[in-house]
């Protein structure tokens, strides 16, 4: 068959196939999408399911081997030890603090860039915001580590004010500061985009009708950019929630990610790690559900 097909390109099999595809648009679509869909299902969803399945396995205490059977031991461990709750609360708390700070920092800058600045100044601001993203993530974290040492830049700056010294190295404050810096572009850009799309006629109409600036802001601007804020916050929150490198380098306490990392490797306790990995997944699901209600996905 193959040999014949080679010599006769207009063989009936291939022409029949193309005729079939011509007559069946759905078949065409299936053929186009099957490769990426398979990839998505097998590699992405499949590995995720495998990870989650791991959470229900357990570690045999005697052999240190993973027992592949259904058990809720890991969840019991996570529930009964205070430390996992503490770590979860710490992780979520800092992620929330980082998100709020980033939104507050982003808004004025984004507002300036989107609505007030000249085109040249706008480009300068945007480049300044995006530029750090091109530097390695680790380099940026280590830069903060160095700045926050007792003899570092931050303390030196603080001492200039005459208020004594400020020791932030290896603390949750340092973690918070570093995260705020690292994820700022991710909140700023969606907020900027939302502000840029804000229709000027609406603002003018509001002020023509006698509304003060604050009223215009709360009644017009804020509701319209809320989806942008929600979208930006998803990035800051989820990225902080999943990070374990920053706490390791500038912090002195553990994040959910650190515990997961420690349990893989020599410890070989992937079931416990998988079970703990479910916690941020659930938190993010709830968060995304809330963000969806605020229209965050329309702003992406």
């Amino acid at each position: 068959m193959a040999a014949i097909a080679e010599h006769q390109p207009r063989d009936d099999a291939s022409s029949r196939a193309s005729a079939y595809l011509f007559r069946h648009p759905r078949g065409r679509l299936a053929l186009t999408l099957s490769a990426p869909l398979t990839w998505f299902l097998v590699v992405y969803i499949g590995s995720l399911l495998f990870l989650l399945a791991n959470a229900f396995w357990s570690l045999d205490v005697l052999t240190s081997e993973v027992v592949r059977g259904f058990s809720l031991d890991n969840f019991q461990t996570l529930w009964e030890n205070d430390v996992y709750r503490t770590i979860t609360i710490r992780t979520v708390g800092i992620a929330a603090a980082v998100t709020i700070t980033d939104v507050f920092l982003s808004f004025p800058l984004a507002y300036y860039a989107a609505r007030l600045a000249s085109p040249r100044a706008r480009n300068a601001v945007l480049v300044a915001v995006v530029l750090p993203l091109w530097a390695n993530y680790l380099v940026r974290i280590f830069a903060w580590k160095i700045m926050l040492t007792p003899n570092g830049f931050v303390n030196w700056l603080f001492e200039l004010t005459g208020l004594g010294s400020l020791q932030l190295g290896r603390s949750n404050w340092a973690v918070w500061l570093t995260f705020v810096y690292v994820w700022l572009p991710f909140t700023l850009l969606p907020i900027y985009a939302a502000l840029e799309r804000l229709p000027t006629p609406l603002l003018e109409a509001s002020s023509d009708l006698g509304a003060k600036d604050s009223r215009t802001f709360w009644k017009i601007t804020f509701p319209l950019i809320l989806p942008g804020i929600a979208a930006g916050s998803i990035f800051a929150f989820s990225l902080t929630l999943g990070d374990y490198i920053t706490p390791e380098i500038v912090g002195n306490t553990q994040f959910i990610g650190n515990v997961i990392y420690d349990n893989v490797g020599v410890a070989g306790n992937t079931p416990l790690a998988a079970a703990f990995a479910l916690v941020p997944i659930v938190i993010m699901a709830v968060y995304l559900f809330g963000a969806k209600r605020l229209g965050a996905f329309d702003a992406l």
Binding site: L49, F50, L52, A53, F56, W57, L59, D60, V61, L62, T63, S64, E65, V66, V67, R68, G69, F70, T77, N81, V83, Y84, T86, I87, K145, T149, P150, N151, G152, Q167, G169, R170, E248, N252, T253, Q254, V259, Y261, D262, N263, V264, G265, V266, A267, G268, N269, L272
Partner: protein, 417 residues
Amino acid sequence: MKGAFRTWLVALAALAVVAAACGEDEGSGGGATGGGIEPSKTYTSIGEPEGELNLIAWIGYVEDGTTEGGEAYDWVTPFEDDTGCNVNVTYGDTSDEMVTLMRQGGGTEYDGVSASGDATNRLIAAGDVGAIDPTLFPEFTNVIGPLNPDGGTNTAHYVVDGNVYGTPYMYGPNFLMYNTEEISPAPTSWDIVFESDSPAAGSVTAYNSPIYIADAAMYLMTHNPDLNITDPYELTQDQLDAAVELLKQQNGMISGYWALATDEIDGFVDGSMTAGTAWPYNLRFTDAPVDAALPTEGMTGWADTWMISANAPHPNCMLKWMDWTMQPEVQAEVSDWYGAAGSNVDSCQATKDFVQELYGKGAAADVDTIRYGFCGDADFLQSLYLWKTPLPDCGDDRGQTCTDYSEWTQKWTEIVG
């Protein structure tokens, strides 16, 4: 809302199916239940080199003279020239990372690893690394007594049930480093890092790894003999709990844990740390008034071993590398660059020659100090409690009642908080 709920139910059901399905094919996967551990592969000959070599190593263990400030240290280029094996190295920051890397692609990506004792027994038990025939390596006869498989007794981290897994490389102690301006007189006990009335409280540091639990257990061997701890790596539940209790007390005095050597070096330089466990490397590179103390309770330590993957893609290059890294001249360079003692007794004289040439006369005397791990001092090495991976099997008549590394890891999570 109802639809969303049903979606979740379906997802959960799918999960349960996956969990159950995966469970069926492998009831109990392994064979390392009690009894002896048989090597998954034993290398008994060295053939033609394959031209490539993929290593996992601690930073500083594989130098080719391109590191800034380390132009004088190159033991890779001569090896490449000699064997035609092109050396590719991936650095691991922690033992955990090394184990994970070593298992990548079913162990077919990397040829070997410079494994520390906190990981080796896990690699051996899981069959990730192969055993070797020591007679392939002539330098084995010069390996320092306590580490020599021929009669040595401090070999549990790489000799298991009579099989030799790899070739010994460097070793060193975890001694007490302290700031000489802040703390005087010189400490003689680990109590300075454990007891709450310590003058260093608030500026103590400790190694951020579950294996550090052994340091507390070792301290308790002296200070709480009722616990009957015989080996700081073989702890029953009660013994582990006592060590964890001590470490939780220590946590209140800690200014920061260190994971990378530079974490501790930075901490001592900026003054936030004044006492804690350290490696020779940390002592040598800390530009601050610091010194080493050798506490009376003893010290833990580490002995690193080049191990070959059981599924190594380039086994002959790896075996050649293992032979090469046992040479005194190679270990001499590593010893000076990394700040550790070579396992080959001839490496000590070679180190002295090397540093004398590099730093001038007088430097050689340093090699006999803690800065180089008391190179060649068999009694000192014998006194160290060398890292080994805690396993359920206590290795004595207590049987399978010991706590394993996964449990240590969970406890470590609790300690750090």
